[in-house]
């Protein structure tokens, strides 16, 4: 195993673990995979779709 292998393997592992941790944190914060909360969803062009945090759909996904 070369130093290059260690660096690349480490970087890939960091990216994968980081992505998983971000997804878990998002889930706990009631955010969807896009990183947004359903409250005032930024993907939606209707700005007034407002859901109470405890009723947020993405928490239950």
């Amino acid at each position: 195993m070369t130093t290059g292998d260690l660096i690349v393997g480490g970087v890939i592992a960091l990216m994968v673990i980081g992505a998983i941790l971000v997804l878990i944190r998002n889930r706990k914060l009631g955010r969807n995979s896009c990183g947004c909360k359903c409250s005032g969803c930024c993907g939606s062009r209707s700005p007034n779709v407002i859901i109470e945090e405890e009723n947020c759909d993405c928490k239950k996904n």
Binding site: I20, G40, C41, G43, R45, S46, I51, D57, K60
Partner: protein, 714 residues
């Protein structure tokens, strides 16, 4: 002291803007009336008091989910005070809710919003006179310009502290006498402080009072019948008329209008064209076509800015700089071939293929945000109502469709504003036919595969609308989804220039959320896809002949389903369709990993698709993936709207089947016109599909005349 203050008002009167100004929050604000479907809570700056933003409503009658939410909060939660925000430019209509709120007997301040517009119109409102007539404090403000917000906070705190209840409004003597009788009948059975509100609701035969105090209406039936005979009208209409007469008197005392242009306002004049029966639809199609042209066009006339930027990111940034640089670095440092492949061909290439479309998406977002900001999208809902109504659907269903073009999850959730259960279920089942933000990379890739055919996006957009209409026609023939369309009433907000900050923030938020998604869910998917496509079932690494891989085995089984659609026996396309269920962008990420890493030349997904398939097959691949089952998040949202997994399963199966039928017909029709080689069984399936669809469309609707036979309409 800490108080709970309710913020109540009509839709689109600047409520969210005032909420943001009072709390320092940054909830999205738009020129778009009323799909706020639940309350939102914040803390008023500089105080310990809580502000509860209620959905925009026109009255306290429980006709819609928004009204139920607002009314239940005010009646059951009993806020310490109410800020009733009123659009000063629509004073007469807005005061109808104010009079009902006054009846509640809760301390209240009227925030007279948009006073800057009143001044620019040359009108004048005598605030003191208005306050005197209404019997509550009135504070003139401009929420958008943050004018007199501190004055409003001071006033509402003072009113809450002193528990300063409104002076009750007096109506005709006959009604007042009946109201007193109703109060006696309700005494001790409802909260004394709200008794006047309940008394009027009893007269109006409101379900709230009838449920809480059964039989109370019988106690006033003699006087009630006498009143109805005297006025020759129903009691609720008499009360409503009296309220409007009162409002008219108040407004004439306090509001002086400057002379108006006989041709109407600029908004009125634009609306005469934009919402006309003749030009409304062609203008809508033209505008959406222009939006996709600006973002996607790449042809004889040159490259549109979005297409140019995307080509640069894909070809130069990733194709010539990042990927060759990383590959060379790996070779120089003796990195293992599999690790190099995973890093460069998997992660960088897969994620890069999706991120490469970001410039085109930004251009699209800018155009669509401008359309929403200026108030055009509200007109589209109005224009589409005519068409939807013709097909026995409600125009209100179109609002979730517009929301769904951003993201399917809030699109499905926006269905909750539809009163009719049948319409709500049908819309929830079909809203994901619209091309959401996640489908934009697919649209862009197919545009490239079809030699810069910018119309692909327009096709996806209007194809989605057509499929919603087709579904509405078909599904309304089912007993449990039958019913008359719900009435659609929507106030058209005036046109205004897009606000630079909120528009820029909206575009940034959407773009950033796309980048975050690429860095998380898409990154993880491409890693898994790369591993599955570069290892055999016995876990041996393969760099070529990916057909021996684990993924090829899985995709290969599915591929048989798509042979009639012209996809050949491509396990790559079948696998990509499968990963599209995780997130639609993954479709492109997967194709980038499994197609491009197997390609000798550095080409993008579009180019490879163009080489491996006929144009008609590319189009069928596109149609199926646009309209089949949405991502898991959207399926979850559909499940919550439909209630059971059984119904959700039926909805997803329906979507996939319809997408399959339409993809088949498009493949055969386009292929025949284009002169592509099409197998006999595709013709046969296309004819069968067309016949089934035609039958379902033309077969008589057994419930059309019956209104609501299933009893499902609320």
């Amino acid at each position: 002291m800490s108080y709970t203050i309710a913020l109540a008002g009509n839709p689109n009167c600047g409520k969210t803007t005032l909420f943001n100004a009072l709390t320092g929050s940054s909830q999205r604000v738009g020129n778009w009336p009323g799909v706020t479907i639940d309350k939102k809570v914040g803390r008023i700056k500089g105080t310990d008091s809580e502000l509860v933003d209620l959905p925009g409503i026109y009255s306290l009658s429980p006709y819609s989910p928004e009204e139920v939410v607002s009314r239940n909060f005010i009646v059951d939660e009993k806020p310490d005070a109410i800020i009733n925000i009123v659009d000063a430019t629509n004073l007469e209509r807005n005061l109808f809710l104010s009079l009902q709120l006054i009846d509640m007997g809760i301390p209240m301040v009227l925030a007279l919003n948009m006073m800057d517009q009143i001044e620019s119109l040359g009108d004048r409102i005598d605030v003191d006179k208005l306050s005197e007539e209404l019997g509550i404090p009135v504070v003139p403000i401009s929420a958008a310009k943050k004018q007199n917000i501190d004055g409003l906070v001071t006033r509402i705190m003072s009113v809450a502290e002193k528990k300063q209840t409104p002076h009750l409004m007096r109506y005709d003597e006959a009604i007042e006498s009946l109201a007193e009788e109703a109060e006696k009948a309700l005494s001790g059975k409802v909260p004394e402080e709200n008794i006047r509100f309940y008394a009027y609701k009893l007269i109006e035969d409101d379900s709230l009072v009838n449920e809480r105090v059964p039989g109370a209406r019988d106690a006033i039936s003699v006087s009630l019948n006498a009143l109805e005979e005297e006025y020759d009208d129903s009691a609720d209409s008499i009360v409503t008329d009296n309220r409007y007469e009162k409002i008219s008197a108040i407004v004439s005392e306090s509001y002086t209008k400057a002379p108006r242009d006989e041709r109407g306002t600029l908004s009125d004049r634009i609306d005469k064209i934009v919402t006309s029966r003749i030009f409304g639809i062609p203008i809508f199609i033209g505008i959406i076509a222009l939006v996709y042209f600006i973002a996607m066009y790449d042809g004889d006339l040159g490259q549109a800015p979005g297409a140019w930027a995307t080509a640069w990111v894909n070809d130069v940034l990733f194709g010539e700089i990042i990927e060759p640089g990383l590959t060379q670095w790996c070779i120089d440092n003796g990195v293992n071939e599999a690790l190099t492949g995973l890093l460069v061909d998997g992660i960088v290439h897969g994620v890069g293929a999706v991120l490469g479309f970001l410039p085109q998406m930004i251009i699209l977002f800018i155009c669509l945000v401008i359309l929403e900001e200026v108030g055009y999208m509200a007109r589209v809902a109005f224009v589409m109502d005519r068409i939807f109504r013709y097909f026995n659907l409600s125009g209100k269903s179109f609002i979730p469709l517009i929301v769904g073009t951003g993201c399917g999850v809030p699109g499905v959730m926006a269905c909750r504003t539809i009163e009719s259960e049948a319409d709500r279920r049908i819309t929830a089942m079909t809203v994901t036919f619209m091309p959401c933000g996640a489908k934009l990379p697919v649209i862009a890739a197919i545009t490239a595969a079809l030699a810069g055919a910018w119309w692909v996006g327009v096709f996806a957009y209007f194809g989605g609308i057509v499929l919603v209409i087709i579904s509405g026609i078909i599904l309304k023939k089912l007993k449990h989804l039958a019913g008359k369309p719900a009435p659609f009433i929507m106030e058209l907000p005036p046109y205004h220039m897009p606000r630079l900050y909120s528009s820029a923030k909206s575009v940034f938020d959407r773009s950033w959320s796309f980048v975050k998604k690429a860095g998380t869910i898409i990154l993880l998917t491409v890693v898994i896809i790369w591993v599955l496509s570069h290892y055999t079932p016995s876990f041996e690494y393969i760099d070529e002949n990916l057909g021996d891989s684990i993924l090829a085995g899985i995709g290969g089984v599915l591929a048989y389903l798509f042979i009639p659609l012209g996809w050949g026996d491509s396990w790559e396309l079948a696998s990509a369709t499968l990963t599209g269920l995780i997130a639609k962008e993954d479709l492109i990420g997967t194709l980038a990993v499994v197609l491009e890493s197997a390609s000798d030349e550095a080409e993008d997904v579009g180019d490879i698709l163009a080489q491996m398939m006929s144009q008609s097959a590319i189009l069928s691949f596109f149609v199926f993936n646009m309209y089949c089952a949405p991502c898991f998040a959207a399926i979850g949202a559909i499940h919550r709207e439909l209630g059971t997994w059984k119904h959700t399963g039926i909805a997803v199966a329906y979507q996939c089947l319809l997408a399959y039928f339409v993809a088949m017909i498009v493949y055969v029709v386009f292929g025949t016109i284009n002169g592509d080689a099409i197998e006999w069984y595709s013709y046969m399936f296309a004819v069968i599909d067309a016949v089934i669809l035609a039958y379902l469309l033309v077969v008589k609707d057994p419930f059309r005349q019956l209104g609501n036979p299933g009893g499902t309409e609320e």
